[in-house]
Amino acid sequence: MALMRDLGLQFVQMFLVVTIAPLVLGVTRKVKARLLRRVGPQLLQPYRDLWKLMHKEAVIATNASWLYRVAPYTIFAVTWVAAALVPTYATGLLFSWSADLIAIVALLGTARFTLALAGLDVGTAFGGIGSSREMMIASLAEPAMLLIVFTVALVAGTTQLSTIADIFISAPPGLRVSLGLALFALMFVGIAENARIPIDNPATHLELTMVHEAMVLEYSGRHLAMIEAAAALKLVLYFSLIACLFLPYGMATIDKGEAALVVGIVSYLAKILVLAVLLPIGEMSVAKMRVFRYPAFLGGAFAAAALAVFLLFVSRGF
């Protein structure tokens, strides 16, 4: 019976993330529009878009291979699993141990790998541009991400997300320089990974600097819907990652009574909302970068994370 309950909780988590994903996207768009003094779409617009896309016929290039058709599902599934493994409203869920932070990052890598291949499949110039740039960005972001993992893991003594959350809740590490640096770096990496300004512009087409959109240029219909959903999920994932690592408060830890769970869910939604509001504000305050200035941007993230790790290595006090 307990097992059933645990399974239930796990599935609640899975569906929680996937349901709120478009909403989060909607919030960011809305805030952005507001900042631009536009009315902007309604909050639920992303749901409608997905629904619309799903009911359009899918147009597939004649020379597209099976990989092209499988990719969207794979990408979505992988991202979903990754997102489901990040503790959101409660720690110590049934499968939380099946993948630690490193594995989750790597899962996102799998999704990226598939997406890049899909971009190359039809054999267009744009797809190639997108894939190659995506892989470069990844190769810049991944070391930074790993150093962030190091930092957190060194502070908490584990790479197990839910354990980290537990520890941070039970014994708050307090304000630490390293953690601050790690947060800073993680935000940079998240921006890069989610194709946000200044690395990429999700709202643009036909621009030689686009990355993510260039890869999915050929997609349409339900496939495109899958990919869009996956992108939204990824954003949620990063939000909940930040939430879980740096403000885990309110999560249901040991006792998973209804009250605790409700508190957990509400607090989680609140955190996500805050982040979803903060992101566009940040985006609005900078301009899109040239492709070959990415190294500077992500190099900053890397430097911050490396500094954090070294501080930890030198003395565990920071």
Binding site: A99, T124, L217
Partner: protein, 669 residues
């Protein structure tokens, strides 16, 4: 008696080699030789497995051969058994593959006799239990593989490759020779047992470690000793390339482990520093270079360099922990390294076999001339895709597991007292992550450019799927890649005796863990479960698919590509491998490789084609080998004058030498 079974297999392989000389010319020769090798390798594999899994006691055997008074000693312990498994499994797979692939060999007599000899030599290296036998089989291995590398000597490239290869190989052997000289002492205790009995002094040990890094590293392909590898591995026929990259480099690793962990015993921390630094540099440089290759097999060879770097990072970590008495993390790091040895031997062999299939199907190795093969060679494409995911260290396949374990080992490092290591190890961790990311980029390019998109040449258009033997071999390897990815616990437990023997501790037993997940140190610390992940993926994927098909419209229309409404029909407009690599080349290559891009764009109205030339320099050539070659050349040139002197000058030489000696005698009085 597994060990003797193994030795009998070696003898049998040598016999096959001799027979191959006789029947190699005939048409039936090829299947017979490869069939025999396959059978023998399977037997040897069984023997090795039985010893590894049954944790049979070490077995020793001495024959009155080799250096007089010492004799030839043979021995198998769990370490040897593990590497025998790697060697013979690789050998079996390549032999199976070659049953089909070998038929395309233009001149079989140049390959057939050396192939079994090569396998035998690799087995023998692992069996060897004294310095002489070890080096003898080590050199035999180089020699046999050299013969195959230069098999197609009609193109001068393979001759140059063979030359560089043999030279580096004998350089390595000489280094090992010196190392063994140090360990054996002036009165020749060559038997490994003797060496173990008398542990060396700190200085001797340090010197020996350096020499072994040079010797074994040159065989394994550590930067900057790697230069021969990207030349030689592609030059050989693909099944042999698979052996060279997937297996022989591991023999280099074996040599390192055998000497440093087993014979020397307790290393100093700074030797760990050396190994870690080399490993990190090797990993990043290797894969960076791989990203910039256009030749498919060359790219794979460079990726081998990268993986060797990863393995050596694991070994360096293990050394670091061992030298500081932290046996448990040492066991973890060592297990990670050995696991990566196994994984790499699986997916790299698979990749080379796939490249061979492509070569047979299209007569092309240059990716710029490939493309769209996924339509003509669907099975090869699928298999190659699996291998690419594995080598890119992506879950849920096997490449990820070993790198994940390595990361776990890195995360233990803050507890090290040694300061140099404290700083070195996180840097190495970053390098490791960087190389993983590059690997992903590299294999997106490798798979995407050669298998996806549209065919760039008629050759690629008329590609044909490869034969069933080759496919069988590749399927088995692919299946194992997946299996090792989802059930790594089994392998880790199998490796326990090895770690026990070398660092005196083992990782926690994995079989008992619920849900078959793996736990490096403690459940609370970290754990990973490929099986559950895979199950999850399948569930969610199928769920998604079901939902989509339930609610979404299944209408599908095939039409010309869109490409922002300006479709460029010519396949030449696709992204090529060099254009794919361009961002990374710009960002990372300009500094390290002095990448030099020259674009010559004709004026408007000028009808000639524009030219874009890229020059990439391997720093190893620029800084190490170029100067060496020039130095030898100039010395030889200057000394050569002595060939053209006159008798009187020569007499003068004799006279002055005589006077010099006489003066010495006079002074000595």
């Amino acid at each position: 008696m597994p060990s003797f079974a193994g030795l009998w297999c070696v003898a049998a392989l040598l016999l096959v080699a001799i027979v191959a000389v006789a029947i190699g010319g005939s048409r039936r020769g090829t299947p017979i030789v490869y069939g025999a090798s396959l059978a023998i390798c399977v037997v040897a594999l069984g023997a090795a497995l039985s010893q590894l899994l049954a944790v049979a006691p070490d077995m020793t055997l001495a024959l009155p051969l080799g250096v007089p008074g010492i004799g030839a000693h043979f021995r198998t312990d769990s370490l040897g058994a593990f590497f025998l498994v790697v060697v013979n499994f690789g050998g079996a797979m390549t032999s199976l593959y070659a049953l089909g692939y070998g038929r395309h060999e233009s001149s079989p007599l140049r390959v057939l006799p050396y192939y079994p000899a090569f396998l035998a030599a690799m087995n023998l290296v692992v069996f060897a239990d004294d310095a002489f036998t070890f080096l003898l089989s080590w050199e035999l291995m180089s020699l046999a593989s050299w013969a195959i590398v230069v098999a197609h000597y009609d193109d001068s490239a393979s001759l140059r490759a063979g030359y560089a290869y043999l030279l580096m190989a004998s350089f390595g052997t000489l280094c090992l020779l010196l190392a063994f000289g140090l360990l054996a002492g002036p009165d020749g205790g060559y038997a490994f047992a003797t060496i173990r009995a008398f542990p060396p002094t700190a200085l001797t040990a340090a010197l020996a470690v350096v020499l072994v890094v040079l010797g074994a590293g040159s065989k394994a392909g550590l930067v900057p000793l790697h230069v021969w590898l990207p030349l030689a591995h592609p030059a050989a026929p693909s099944h042999v390339s698979a052996l060279l990259s997937g297996v022989m480099t591991k023999i280099g690793v074996y040599g390192f482990i055998r000497v440093v962990f087993d014979l020397i015993g307790d290393p100093t921390p700074w030797s760990a520093l050396l190994v870690l630094a080399l490993g990190g540099i090797t990993a990043v440089l290797g894969v960076l270079y791989a990203v910039m290759q256009h030749d498919l097999k060359r790219l794979l060879a460079y990726s081998t360099v990268e993986n060797i770097g990863i393995i050596f990072i694991g070994l360096g970590l293990s050394l670091a922990f061992k030298s500081n008495g932290m046996v448990l993390p040492a066991a973890l790091a060592l297990t990670a390294a050995l696991l990566h040895v196994l994984n790499h031997s699986l997916f790299k062999s698979l990749l080379f076999l796939g490249a061979g299939a492509v070569q047979v199907g299209t007569n092309e190795r240059n990716m710029e001339h490939l493309g769209g093969l996924i339509h003509r060679m669907p099975q090869t494409a699928a298999i190659f895709l699996i291998a690419s995911v594995s080598v890119s260290a992506l879950p849920p396949l096997n490449g990820f597991v070993s790198e994940w374990l390595t990361f776990q080992a890195i995360l233990v490092s803050p507890q090290l007292p040694h300061w140099g290591l404290k700083f070195m190890i996180p840097a190495v961790g970053a390098l490791l992550a960087l190389s993983a990311a590059f690997a992903a980029a590299c294999f997106v390019k490798a798979f995407g450019v050669s298998f996806l998109g549209r065919p760039r040449t008629p050759a690629a258009e008329q590609a044909i799927e490869t034969d069933r033997f080759s496919l069988a071999a590749m399927y088995i390897l692919a299946a194992l890649c997946v299996l090792a990815g989802v059930l790594p616990g089994l392998v880790i437990d199998a490796l326990a005796p090895v770690a026990k023997g070398l660092v005196g501790s083992v990782m926690p037993r994995q079989i008992g863990v619920p849900w078959l997940s793996i736990v490096p140190i403690a459940e609370s610390r970290s754990s990973y479960n490929g099986l559950v992940i895979l199950a999850f993926l399948i569930c969610s994927g199928s769920l998604t698919a079901a939902v989509i098909h339930r609610f979404a419209s299944g209408a599908t229309r095939r039409s010309a590509m869109w490409d922002c409404g300006i479709p460029l029909v010519s396949p030449q407009t696709q992204y090529t491998s060099s254009s794919f690599a361009q961002p990374i080349r710009r960002v990372f290559g300009t500094v390290i490789f002095r990448v030099h891009e020259t674009l010559d764009m004709p004026q408007p109205g000028d009808m000639r084609a524009g030219r874009f030339r890229i020059r990439v320099l391997d720093p190893a050539w620029r800084f190490v080998y170029g100067p060496l070659v020039r130095a030898v050349g100039s010395v030889a040139g200057n000394l050569n004058r002595l060939q053209f002197l006159t008798i009187r000058n020569y007499l003068t030489l004799v006279f002055s030498a005589l006077i010099l000696l006489l003066l010495m005698v006079a002074a000595w009085r």
